[in-house]
């Protein structure tokens, strides 16, 4: 029982217990006098004007897709960054990662030219 990730597990455990206990305690402690106004969805105090399940613009899809792709690119930079020193990778590693980023930069400029970052187009 000396796993280096044990503290994180303990933290998760207490976060879970805290949430459950808070919900149960507040349910037991508060008076229950519901009415239509109280039961309506809280939307920063403004009256609700439509269903939450409206269709959102398909433009969000491209934002999420670009986020995913650049996230994967960033994931490949972590193992490179911690190995980047004179003995293991050196100049070879540097050229390699520049090629990797350059290829993806083509995609970035393509997205830029095609106005994928623009909301109105």
């Amino acid at each position: 029982m000396d796993h280096p990730y044990l503290p994180i597990l303990i933290l998760m455990f207490f976060a879970f217990i805290f949430t459950v206990v808070t919900i149960i305690m507040s349910d037991l402690a508060r008076p229950s006098k519901p009415n239509a106004e109280k039961n309506s969805t809280y939307e920063c105090g403004a009256p609700i004007f439509t269903d939450a399940r409206g269709m959102v613009s398909v433009k969000y899809y491209i934002i999420a897709m670009l986020f995913l792709l650049f996230d994967v690119e960033a994931a490949f930079l972590y193992p490179w960054a911690i190995n980047y020193d004179k003995e293991t990778l050196g100049l070879f590693g540097f050229v390699e990662i520049v090629i990797f980023i350059a290829i993806l930069l083509v995609g970035y400029f393509y997205a830029w030219r095609k106005e994928a970052f623009e909301w109105e187009s």
């Binding site: 029982m1 796993h3 990730y5 597990l9 399940r53 409206g54 269709m55 959102v56 613009s57 398909v58 433009k59 969000y60 899809y61 491209i62 934002i63 999420a64 897709m65 670009l66 986020f67 995913l68 792709l69 996230d71 994967v72 690119e73 994931a75 490949f76 972590y78 193992p79 490179w80 911690i82 190995n83 293991t88 990778l89 590693g93 390699e96 990662i97 090629i99 990797f100 980023i101 290829i103 993806l104 083509v106 995609g107 393509y110 997205a111 095609k114 994928a116």
Partner: protein, 175 residues
């Protein structure tokens, strides 16, 4: 340690069942996040920290964002009843499931839960610990021996990026 494995195993299984059993697609998506987190926990138990971190950052983070946006773009409402299998698909579904079942039974019986005899490569837990960390050991092979696949990944990402932009711009232009 066994207790932690069963904890993540059970939460993973329960939430994976939830993904297909919930009627509200948003609940299914959140159950998938729980399943991915449990998988990350099991990766940590297997000393694969880097894999666990990527599981959370890429799957539970980026891919789930994509899933949720797709759900919202398609405007899928709560299902009245769970969709039933098409009768024609049923034999294929049962067949594929049977193949996976045979695979899993084979792996489990042959290797004492997978991490026994089958994992006989050079990079054992001890070897990785000697190098320093998971990510470091991965980097040392990825950026030297597997250089070509690594550069090919950037091309794959580029194709995905251009494909997604093209599809969306074409679709919006035609309207």
């Amino acid at each position: 340690m066994d207790f932690v494995f069963y904890l993540f195993g059970i939460t993973g299984l329960v939430s994976a069942v939830g993904v297909v059993a919930f009627r509200n697609p948003i609940h299914s998506a959140l159950a998938l996040v729980a399943a991915l987190f449990s998988t990350a926990g099991i990766y940590i138990l297997l000393d694969a920290e880097f894999l666990a971190v990527l599981e959370v950052i890429i799957y539970a983070g980026a891919i789930m964002v994509l899933f949720l946006f797709v759900l919202m773009c398609l405007n899928i409402r709560e299902l009245k009843a769970l969709p039933q299998f098409n009768k024609k698909i049923r034999p294929f579904a049962i067949g594929i499931t049977a193949i996976f079942l045979v695979d899993m039974v084979y792996l489990i019986t042959k290797s004492q839960f997978g991490v026994g005899e089958l994992a006989t490569g050079k990079y054992t837990s001890e070897q990785v610990a000697a190098i320093g960390s998971n990510a470091k050991a991965l980097g040392q092979v990825l950026y030297t021996r597997y250089l070509l696949p690594f550069e090919a990944i950037s091309l794959l990402l580029l194709v995905a990026m251009i494909g997604a932009i093209l599809l969306m711009k074409e679709g919006l232009g035609r309207k």
